[in-house]
Symmetry: C2
């Protein structure tokens, strides 16, 4: 079963927004056993919509469209689909009343524009949008496929996909499973990795497809299989990855989902250890990564974003002498921050970062991108320096990842 | 001048990654005066690549492809393009040596797979990738257009776009400008907004196109103009938006780029005021939003992620009595956290959050999603409670936004 996803909106074409809708739709369709053959983004013009929807219908049984269903003049998806399917727009009493009561609850008047949102093509099945004013639409095509239009507001689209679209697709089509399993490796370059696992790769069952997904210091290996029995494929893929432990065991981080902070989370929980974080240049990013994981409160004592020298001194107890002598961005201060966070909060381990995120504040000796990272453990404190580029966002994101890796390595070493 | 962006990779079609490459490319092309008519994502299959590139060439002068240039078997973009342009692959000495020395610096052996990366189609202009092992390729088409292939690693692609692609496109084609200007409104629903500014919208110069971009509590209004003189268009758009102040002045936040945290940043800098943040459930997200803005060190004293009761008490001075009597998620504790952050750091203003981010920890009285937010100012402390849904990520992101809005409103009120 094949699908095409079409996202409509000039804001996507000009790069004003990142299209996360199609990512979410793709995942949900994949989970339901439907293969996406193409994702297309086009502007809000009638001709583009017609050409693209027709092309999508000719090559896939399922076409999912998002965007362009709002009440304003620039939204033309509904009118265009109505004319494509030779269907007139009629006022839908149920949807109209829903919109009216939704707005009334928020103290907003029901206008002609809102009334227009309940004008729907006669031939479509209306997909009730409990969370917004634009209903979804389900059109059956002459060829036996379906064209589905959903609002572009992510929250509303998500609910419609889960509550309406996926259940209807499952009852309408006979679907088999798609399985993806991804293993994360680190510390081995893609080309070397490919050579080392070449024999393993060649011996994979033919129905499994291997993909390499490289990122700085990390290569993810994904096995995919289409139209299979889910349990069997998942078990066989796990067994294949199991064999990799004998070949590249030291480089395996774990299965996807297991980010380094999640591995640290697991290790801390399993050992009953507590963590604290002291951040300067990373500004709360490390704390937010840990606290984003459900259950972090079991070990996460506190994060201190000690941006000013006063905060470094007053909250973390960094000595004024070190700040004056070595500067805030120094090995000494990073170590005092980590130890101060550990001591202040009663944690077992602490991470600290201090650096120059730019764009200003750099010098010849300490250019923008210089970041000191320290880890304090029950038995020692150590720090390393890394330069993380010149872009403020990149510097904080890389430095956060390095600092977490530093703690991860330390915990792994003391695992025994 | 029209362009199509093609991103290649199964990881995009299955929703494993969010495609930010096409966003970045779209912005850079728009800035150069090139209109994107379509963005397409397809899988790593030869037939799909050929069909899609040919279709793109037939409707746009510029085709930009990313992905599929790696050294491993699943990467087939280069071979496919070479055969489309009837060109054989030859070893490129310069690129080969570049890859060899790049790897040598990182202590990595130069393998046959790396050698393969320097095998390039004879007919293309090689775009030197100073930051990676996969060079870009520039093909001139018979119709007078260009097809450009870039690696999928974002950092490498960005540099190639800036250093090679955009300068070459500018010298190759005669380009006019594209201008987008976006105004942010809040607190007015899209349909009411559209009615209130209908006369203004109808009176816009015909070359300007208006789009509505709704999000929770926010509607962005974007004016776009294509193939224009940049300075003139920008001035005229600014003048149009200026007129909106008389109609919906109270709802205008500012121009895009001006997020609420950026407005707070500006107000604090302008008035020489200091800020501190005390976060429980938002776990560092608020701190990271402020510290992401260049220049935050001028006013951002400290952020304290007081996740445990101990941290709330020891670092922020929240009373154990309040914690026991009202619970950590309460109006009283939120206010004590804000005041404690203000006092501890010597800041003028402080924000605090405390809530239940889930998935566990909720109760009938305080369900998952309950968040208390407090602001402490030089003259008062106040708090409000909001429920922010049931998803952990959504709860922290909404609560962070609400808390910042609370401070923004307070600063705006005291602006006089």
């Amino acid at each position: 079963m094949k699908a095409t996803i079409i996202t409509i909106g000039d804001e996507i074409l000009i790069g004003q927004i990142v299209d996360t809708n199609s990512v979410s739709i793709a995942r949900k369709l994949n989970n339901a056993g439907i293969t996406i053959v193409e994702k297309v983004s086009i502007g809000d013009t009638r001709e583009e919509i017609i050409t693209t929807v027709e092309r999508a219908m000719s090559r896939s049984e399922v076409v999912i469209i998002t965007g362009g269903l709002g009440p304003t003049k620039d939204d033309i998806t509904k009118h265009t689909l109505a004319s494509m399917f030779n269907s007139e727009l009629c006022y839908n009493e149920t949807e109209g009343e829903h919109v009216r009561s939704l707005l009334a609850r928020r103290g907003i008047a029901f206008t002609d524009l809102n009334r227009g949102q309940a004008m729907l093509p006669k031939c479509c099945t209306v997909l009730h949008n409990a969370h917004g004013t634009a209903p979804g639409m389900w059109f059956d095509t002459e060829r036996g496929g379906v064209v589905i239009a959903l609002p572009g507001v992510p929250f509303e689209m998500e609910h419609l996909m889960e509550d309406e679209v996926v259940p209807r697709l499952k009852s309408r089509f006979k679907l088999k499973s798609i399985v993806h399993l991804t293993l994360i490796t680190r510390g081995i370059p893609e080309s070397i990795l490919a050579e080392r696992i070449a024999a393993w790769e060649d011996a994979l069952p033919r129905y499994m497809h291997l993909a390499y997904l490289p990122a700085p210091n990390v290569v993810r290996l994904r096995l995919s299989a289409y139209d299979v029995d889910e349990e069997v494929a998942r078990a066989e893929m796990s067994a294949e990855f199991e064999r990799l432990h004998a070949i590249i065991g030291d480089n395996i981080v774990g299965m996807e989902g297991a980010t380094l902070e999640e591995r640290v989370h697991e290790m801390l929980v399993a050992r009953g250890l507590k963590l604290a974080v002291a951040e300067s240049c990373t500004g709360g990013v490390i704390a937010s990564k840990f606290t984003a994981i459900p259950g972090a409160s079991a070990y996460f004592m506190a994060g201190i974003v000690a941006y000013s020298n006063e905060a470094k001194h007053d909250i973390l107890g960094v000595s004024n002498e070190s700040l004056a002598r070595y500067g805030a961005v120094s090995e000494q201060v990073a170590m005092e921050m980590a130890e101060g966070a550990r001591r202040t909060t009663g944690a077992d381990y602490a991470i600290a970062t201090t650096g120059i995120a730019g764009p200003t504040g750099g010098s010849a000796e300490k250019p923008v991108g210089t970041v000191w990272m320290a880890v304090a453990t029950p038995t020692k404190i150590f720090a390393i320096m890394r330069n993380s580029g010149t872009d403020r966002g990149q510097i904080t994101s890389r430095a956060s990842a390095y600092a977490i890796e530093l703690l991860y390595n330390e915990l792994k070493t003391t695992e025994l």
